[in-house]
């Protein structure tokens, strides 16, 4: 157990035609670890995150979760089945929430557990209530997404992902689309998750949040991991020139 | 498929297509006249004119065109209007499509930005001048495509005069289906001729639309 990492990305590379967006990236994440990926836009950080659950499949390289290879080469039909299975173990939260507008908050949360895990309606409803309580939105259970603020939408999106009892959570700039005054409520939910020892990989622009919550920080630029280490080192004492430049711009805000 | 039969009957269909074409052109012209009149009444300052136009649109769009054709052709003589089938069909269809065109034309005029009116009026132009010189030229461009949709519908709509025995494409197809028992072949000949007319009309609309954008 201890010699196989929880999340293991090996020699990940991706290119669109001649454009290389990821170049030979290696990353391991231990169970319960919280990793932040920072870097300028176009650095490949979102692409890396989206490769973990096969939304943007890699051109080459391997992604493993708990000893199971996610991006296995399989015949189309088997591949689809396999990917749908492993995605149930990987929660993802998007910048633009991607809640289903035609479903109530309750149905947004219960859809996948009922459909994919065969959960009964009663159990799924109970699960939805628990998850909503967890993100502090119990009173919104029968509301449609259009009636929620951005921060509330994102909290529901987190509850929806958690309802699948994922092994790892991916956050793709979860607070970037929010008005500044709504960022904190989402950060609080994420901090709470951290305290519950959820394994998380977080792509973010918020250096303060990364510094206070994460165990490790990766700085990416132009498709490579330039530097990584504990937040104290990366933020206070970076070695690489590129990291320093980036942080100078982003910490002075 | 019975090619021999098709070759024997197609001259009748060509003649019928000419009738369909005549119906389409006349209906279109009458429709445009009714539509222009209807739209100007709907935008009039005088409330009764607006009401009449709104009633016209509502009644003619709210009831089947077939009933309107029957009413004029069969019911007309009772109130002293004696028309042959072609005339009755053309008038009924034209007035019917005019109700749709009223809404199309009105919609285009209304969609011209309010700022255009305000700008013209501040320059000292009268309401009429604003309408003629500023609003209508812009609206005219915008209404070409939606009017094209109306025209497409009216060409297919000319089939509705078949039940009052105007010898156009659908009537001819129906007659030949009855005498030859070859519905598919007859459908195909008539269908192709309809599509040629519709295609030609579509090209005309496209040509107008392009020209209007350059001007």
């Amino acid at each position: 157990m201890s010699d196989t990492p929880f999340v293991d990305i090996r020699h990940a590379a991706k290119s669109f035609g001649a454009l290389e967006v990821l170049k030979d990236i290696n990353l391991t994440v231990e169970r319960g670890q919280i990793v932040a990926i920072i870097g300028p836009s176009g650095s490949g950080k979102s692409t890396l995150l989206r490769a973990i659950n096969e939304l943007d499949p890699l051109t080459s390289g391997e992604v493993w979760l708990e000893g199971v290879q996610i991006n296995k080469k399989l015949p189309h039909r088997q591949y689809e089945k396999h990917v749908n299975q492993v995605r149930q173990d990987i929660g993802m939260v998007f910048q633009h929430f991607n809640l289903f507008p035609h479903l109530s908050v309750r149905d947004n949360i219960t859809l996948a557990p009922k459909m994919l895990k065969g959960m009964s309606t009663a159990d799924a409803n109970k699960l939805a209530e628990e998850q909503l309580a967890n993100v502090g939105l119990s009173d919104k259970i029968d509301v449609f997404p259009s009636r929620l603020s951005g921060g509330q939408k994102q909290r529901v999106a987190i509850a929806r992902a958690l309802a699948m009892k994922p092994k790892v959570m991916l956050f793709d700039e979860a607070t970037s689309a929010l008005d500044p005054e709504l960022v904190e409520e989402v950060n609080l939910v994420m901090k709470k998750l951290a305290e519950q020892h959820m394994t998380m990989i977080i792509v973010t622009h918020e250096m303060d949040f990364a510094a206070s919550v994460c165990d490790r920080v990766l700085f990416m630029d132009q498709g490579v991991v330039v530097e990584e280490g504990p937040p104290s080192v990366i933020f206070q004492n970076p070695k690489e020139e590129r990291t320093k430049n980036f942080l100078r711009k982003h910490l002075s805000r | 498929m019975d090619i021999d039969l098709i070759l024997r009957v197609y001259p009748f269909f060509i003649e019928a297509a000419v009738v369909t074409l005549q119906l389409s052109v006349l209906t279109c012209l009458l429709g445009l006249a009714c539509g222009t009149l209807g739209a100007s009444m709907r935008l009039s300052r005088l409330a009764p004119l607006r009401w009449i136009a709104a009633g016209y649109v509502s009644v003619f769009r709210g009831t089947p065109a077939l009933i309107q054709i029957f009413l004029l052709y069969f019911g007309g003589p009772q109130i002293g209007i004696q028309l042959d089938a072609f005339a009755a069909g053309t008038i009924a269809l034209g007035v019917n499509i005019g109700a749709y065109m009223t809404e199309t034309i009105r919609g285009a005029i209304v969609s011209v930005d309010r700022g255009q009116t305000e700008a013209s009026r501040t320059l000292g132009m009268s309401k009429g001048q604003t309408m003629r010189k500023v609003i209508l030229p812009q609206a005219a461009r915008m209404m070409i495509r939606p009017l094209g949709v109306n025209i497409n519908a009216l060409i297919k709509g000319t089939a509705l005069v078949a039940p009052i025995s105007v010898i156009e494409l659908t009537y001819t197809a129906q007659r030949f289906i009855g005498s030859t028992y070859k519905p598919f072949e007859m459908f195909l000949i008539a269908g192709i001729l309809y599509m040629i007319i519709i295609y030609a009309a579509g090209q005309g609309i496209k040509w107008l639309d392009r020209r209007a954008q350059i001007v």
Partner: protein
Amino acid sequence: MGLDFTVIPEYFDVLLLGMAWTVAITIGAGLLSFFGGIVFGVIALYGHWTIRLPFRLFAWLFMGTPLLLQLFLIYFGLIQIGIDLPAFVAGVIGLGLHFAVYNSELIQASILAVDKGQYEGARTLGLSSGQTLRRIVIPQAVQAVVPPMGNNMIALLKDSALVSVIGVAELTLASQQAISRTYRPFEFYIAAAACYYVINLCLEAVLRRLERRIAAQR
């Protein structure tokens, strides 16, 4: 011969029965056009090319020719290949298929307009592409398409008059029956028009309520 509308009450039951048939055929063909439109739309977008190509040809033929011509084809064509359907059924099929083709165009555009994030959100949860289409994409596409489909439904109601020519005893044919006995076409076509107008108003009211209910959710 002057006008005499007093003959109409005598044929009230005939007109009422005709109205009932008109409503029935509108509902039947409406349902067929709705579900058929969705199925056709999905086929046109995702079907194998061996299905997609014939379908495109079929759609092209149906959009380019008059409904009346299509009704003749279906009614007499079915008889020719040995299927003698009741006129009502043939009418429902003809009207329904005709409008299903128009609805499928709407659905296609609407499916393509569903945000990419919706696919990603669903796929991330582990839904298969088929499940995503059925549970996430199509419901949203259908909701978005209710107002224009409503317009098609109103057109369908009025075009239901055309099935009188293949012998469906709906409102138009019912008024013709009354006319053949009274020789009063003007009065009865006015009465029929009034009946259609009333059904139309009801249908518009129903559609508006439906739109409002959907809008309230979004």
